[in-house]
Symmetry: C2
Subunit: 202 residues, 2 copies
């Protein structure tokens, strides 16, 4: 019925698929993201969806890439102009809280990274590798910023950036759970309190 669209329209279609796919996957998981569900939601045929990616795995990887782009745009980019080190780090942490609290339109089921990391942590395959790679990438940025904060003297000289990054990730896993599973309105402030204890001159 609906035949070929212009290349621009086709790209737009692909974007719509990925956007919707990210939303579904944040709720149902990357395995629960099915071609049929996506087709129904978008009023397309399954073949029309799959034509853009080839396989479900490629679609899952595209959803992960999109989630990474959103994370960059919402959490890191707004803090880019801050002075490197602790000030920028604190801006990132605050944006991270807001991201988990408010990005319900993009991630109605919470941060896709969290969902995907737990879903695939015990399996093999390209999706698992991509999840691990992205997690490493973002933690690497965190560690870099922490190192700057230490050399600038904004954190005690003995501080281990890897250790602090580890604890930061834990705080955000807890925040995601508190928001999604318990709808706990106190969780953001709990996170801020923990951050204050973690990111002070000592």
């Amino acid at each position: 019925m609906s035949p070929r669209k212009s290349v621009a329209e086709a790209r737009r279609t692909r974007e719509r698929i990925v956007e919707r796919g990210v939303a579904i996957a944040s709720v149902e998981g990357l395995e629960g993201l099915t071609i049929g569900r996506l087709a129904t939601d978008l009023g397309m045929s399954k073949a029309g969806i799959l034509g853009h990616f080839g396989t479900k795995e490629a679609l899952q990887l595209a959803a992960l890439d999109e989630a990474s782009a959103v994370f960059q745009r919402v959490v890191w980019q707004p803090a880019a102009h801050e002075t490197p080190g602790l000030p920028r780090l604190r801006a990132v942490c605050e944006a991270w809280i807001t991201y988990l609290e408010r990005e319900r339109e993009i991630f109605p089921g919470g941060c896709l990274f969290t969902t995907a990391s737990v879903e695939f942590d015990a399996r093999g395959g390209r999706v698992r590798d991509a999840v691990a790679r992205l997690y490493r990438l973002w933690r690497h940025r965190l560690v870099g910023e922490l190192r700057l904060a230490v050399t600038a003297g904004d954190l005690p000289p003995g501080t281990d950036p890897e250790q602090v990054a580890y604890e930061l990730v834990g705080l955000y896993l807890a925040l995601n759970q508190a928001i999604q599973l318990f709808a706990d309105p106190l969780a953001p402030d709990r996170t801020r309190r923990a951050l204050d204890r973690l990111l002070t001159r000592a």
Copy 2:
């Protein structure tokens, strides 16, 4: 072919199903726990499996209950004889680390609670409710132990038990991820270091 077993054998069969179900679910998630897979693994028919539970949902709930019993047995019970308050809490925390590190036979894919909580945190239904209830139950125990530690003077008087429990959960979410996704051998010690900072007289 294989007809009725004695009631004792039938109970044993049910236990085998739940045990295997917990192992599968820890890797594939509670949705990825399928009747067919379970039947193949145990050399049974699907009807034979389902006869013990009625529905898949009931099977999922049984797996959650079993996971809770394991947690009780491995993490809390060994610490039961310790003196209430901080000593018992530290024993629990140490057992918790060992539990995430070593319980690969029971949970080859990591703590089932973690998997299930992320898998169902954005959905409705009985399974989600059960996950939330169990999480609340264990956190409640944690808070109770923390309260004892505070009144005993083993933690600073201003300590907020809910806050500390929140951060403890975050640490264990991070540990589960570090072990399962990154196979990071340093993670247990990182957790211990964070615990020391979190559970000292000030």
